[in-house]
Subunit: 560 residues, 2 copies
């Protein structure tokens, strides 16, 4: 373990008997998880998720793994294994299947149900195969064994992949809650057996590797909810992630215990919980669920609204309630519970929602003032258990920013894994496993693939830079049509400025400068392009000197 | 205490014997602190700071208090009292003095020195009066007593203002470190005496009111720094706020103890520490300071770089080091300490810096993994002490978002202040103090005043909305010049699109649609405005249906 290699060359051709591992996403960021295992010319894919954009990626809907590395080898893909049903593991499946629709998609029952709902929206049908913990299945040379893991969504799996080159264990996302609500623990017996048989490469979730100790059991949230419900005399609104079946279960239980009915709010919440009920992952105590339209028929102290929007998303129900723009109006004395983590980067948005709710008189309970959320990822203490139970020969931390990967690698080293057997790799870095030893042997190009409206992969970093300039500074455009033969302006100059804070009078003075510039160009026999460049300089100087700013400048000089 | 009043009317005229308090900033946000006290037609101003913009205010440099309420009464201002030298308390002074340069500016020695440095940059000279803790001074009818408070900058003061209507105590920013590095504690003896004499309105810092317990003493950072210094065998880089004299002092002490020299990096760091040394607030152990140019002459294990950039500011030295774009290159084994808080909203930027430094092989020590920062604001436990020592008749929480103000008010109520005597007010809300009772009597308009390049107060919320659209979606502009009499297009259609991710070919198909639209308009005898509106519809439909996006559309149809 040391500084990340930054000057990697393309990898050598894959030698016989070697397993190659390349992440197309998820290493260096939290999201768009996807790994490619290659053996003897065939590929096995693990996960295919999306990444949500940060503020320096404005207007981007989601970010995909970079499929380029496998784009011309899709025929060699034996299967896509999905570890669980979260967006950062399944969100990009429709985009992959758009390239080759018949890739077999492997996953647990709930995972495939969530994928099916997603594919339906994209009008794609897939070839799926349902697997269970304990089950084994071979996809070409890739012999897979699926292992139960506990996470913040039911039915999550780790996958052990054995080829003649050795065994790779990929944890997916997991934690080690020893008393989970559904009794389905991370199967450390299986981990121990695999360890005894020999795990050659351990690909392990790094999300919480920096967090010391152990994650609080999910069931400790129940009593806290119970307490808040007991103290509430009016309506209760709970916001959480739309896939967190166990969290919703605890809210349903608390509501039932306190004589309240629950209305689900928000498309994804209604859809996912419908799936969870249908498949038996969510149990309804009594007739606890009601329709949102029935809420007004009940006294306030018998109502719970279960909604999304816990990250401050401006269009979600919770934000609209906080702004007074929702049919459910928050009244003084109402209670709002944000039963989710605060994902870094969303702080301002979340606090705006909390301030808005408090301004309306609501009591707001959130992870900052009560234990209403626990993480779904193993903390450092749990990871140490894993390393000691598995004793892997080589370790490749996955799922995380660089800081998480490095922290996870350091834990591996503490348990006795030699530092040179810890692969700190980012997206596109090529790891080869051969004779029980993993090594970084090169890197392939791996970029960000932006989905933006109907466009996939067309948005470039240059265009994002344009957006940042436009968003910070606005633009000034100038239009002039001129007869270059007659050397006269025939239309314009007309100025349009947006996002530039100036009085019209200020911009009027620019019209005159542009006119003079064009007239000079005409007199000097310039062509339209030269005249346009001259206008650009005039407007740029005006913005810099007069406005002390750097808006985008868009000059158009046309010859008639 | 209840929901914030949202339908306040303009206040009644100020009655004789009544003190009026209005905040022009700082109530409902963390920053741009400024309060106006009015008695008998005269005004006393307390603090005049700036607020830094959030991501929904793109391109804004800083945000000022709204001076509108006092704009035509500046002649009535007796003085501006500054509690301490942080930007959120002094940053807007140049903008206020630009309106009336001879307002007397009152503050402690270090506060006035920082103001002077700032005014020099704005080429403004001010009328100042230096005051000390324990000192009394009258400005018209406003009889002020200054009280020492402890904060994350030396020489901070609270101010008690007595008029015939009673005594107001404004804490400024403060905490109650009982063993501060400079021995200058918050003067609870003076608070106790003022309480005994009677504090009619207690205006109290709310920043940490949600945080239970007590702030860790600043001096506990020293041993942590010492430990990190002892473990470091190469260069050490420390990032902190440029005004945190005591933090820098501890770094200088640790460096000296470990045989290292310190180079200050960054304009504000060099300037502020120069002032602090000159005035005796910063003590140099030995010849510990060196120039940045001397760094390369020393072995790596004798070097400390003290810089700004702890909030991930992209242009600061630390970000550039993380990106490898700084003359100081980070090497594997170097240590970087972020000795500051992580201000909400900056998480992504800060983690980008941390990831970048770790990628280069640095060890990064920050508040997430070591005790290298403590807050400058009293936590709930400290505030309870204050309320009990002062026993104020009325309380007005200041300095904070709504959630902070409400949390602080709840603490006051717990100590026995009647709920109806706690003024939860936002910017512009008018509080009148009369006969020992404070009441909210109305509100005055109070908006956000944006500084953007050379423009102050010209940027409107509409223009910010334009910027958000431009930043998220880009724009498509179309330019056509036509002879409306001859019913022919003479130039164009020409399209310019920026921040819109599409192939040229896609936009080419739009040219044809626009041409047809304009030709139809011409044939139908439309005027240029009507033709332009038709073009807007064509482009809008194209963007929505074909691109599935909503860029800004800027059509220009000119008649020749």
């Amino acid at each position: 373990m040391s500084a990340l290699p930054t000057d990697l060359l393309p990898p050598p051709p894959l030698e016989p008997g070697t397993l190659r591992v390349v992440a197309l996403g998820g290493l260096g960021e939290v999201g768009r998880n996807m790994s490619v295992l290659e053996y003897d010319g065939k590929l096995l894919l693990i996960d295919c998720g999306v990444l949500f954009p940060e503020e320096h990626q404005p207007g981007v809907d989601v970010i995909l793994p970079d499929f380029d590395y496998i784009a011309d080898r899709l025929g060699d893909v034996e299967a896509l294994v999905l570890t669980h049903g979260h967006e950062d593991h399944i969100g990009a499946v429709p985009y992959l299947l758009a390239l080759r629709p018949d890739i077999p998609v492997i996953g647990s029952r709930l995972t495939l149900a969530f994928v099916a709902a997603k594919l339906k929206e994209h009008r794609i049908s897939a070839t799926t195969r349902e697997v269970k913990e304990g089950e084994r299945a071979a996809f070409g040379d890739f012999h897979c064994e699926f292992v139960a893991v506990n996470h913040s969504i039911p039915d999550a799996l780790a996958v052990a992949v054995t080829t003649p080159a050795g065994t790779v264990l990929n944890t997916g996302d997991f934690k080690m809650d020893q008393l989970p609500l559904d009794g389905r623990i991370t199967d450390l017996r299986a981990f121990a057996r695999l360890g005894t048989e020999g795990v050659d490469l351990f690909m392990v979730d790094s999300t919480n590797a920096e967090v010391p100790g152990f994650v609080t059991p999910e069931r400790e949230i129940g009593p806290v909810l119970d307490q808040v419900f007991a103290e509430s005399q009016q309506r209760i609104v709970v916001a959480s992630f739309a896939s967190h079946v166990h969290r919703v279960q605890q809210v349903l239980n608390a509501a039932h215990a306190h004589g309240r009915k629950v209305a689900l709010v928000g498309r994804s919440m209604v859809r996912n919980m419908g799936v969870a009920v249908d498949l038996g992952y969510l149990t309804l105590p009594g007739d606890v669920l009601i329709d949102l339209r029935q809420v007004t028929d009940l006294p306030d102290d018998q109502v719970v609204l279960m909604c999304t929007g816990s990250q401050g998303e401006p269009m979600a129900a919770l934000s609209r309630m906080a702004n007074g723009n929702h049919k459910v109006s928050i009244e003084p004395g109402d209670t709002v519970i944000l039963a989710s983590s605060l994902i870094p980067g969303n702080e301002n948005a979340v606090y705006r929602v909390i301030n808005g709710l408090m301004r309306l008189g609501a009591r707001v309970v959130h992870s900052g003032n009560a234990k209403v959320h626990v993480s779904g990822h193993s903390a450092a203490g749990e990871l140490l258990y894993c390393y000691n139970i598995l004793r892997p020969k080589n370790v490749m931390p996955i799922h995380g920013e660089t800081r998480h990967l490095i922290a996870n690698g350091a834990l591996a080293v503490k348990t006795g894994v030699p530092p040179e057997r810890v692969m700190i790799a980012e997206d596109g870095v090529v790891v080869d496993l051969r004779d029980g030893k993993a090594n970084i042997v090169g890197a392939v190009p791996c970029g960000f693939v932006y989905v933006d409206g109907s466009s996939v992969g067309k948005l470039t970093d240059d265009e994002l830079q344009d957006r940042r300039v436009l968003g910070e500074e606005g633009f000034i455009s100038v239009f002039v049509a001129a007869d270059f033969a007659a050397k006269t302006i025939v239309a314009g100059p007309t100025i349009r400025a947006r996002g530039v804070a100036e009085d019209d009078a200020v911009l009027d003075s620019l019209v005159e400068q542009v006119r003079q510039s064009v007239e000079t160009s005409l007199a000097e026999g310039a062509n339209p392009h030269q005249a346009q460049q001259a206008v650009r300089r005039v407007v740029g100087r005006f913005a810099s000197n007069r406005l002390r700013r750097r808006p985008m400048i868009v000059p158009v000089v046309l010859g008639v």
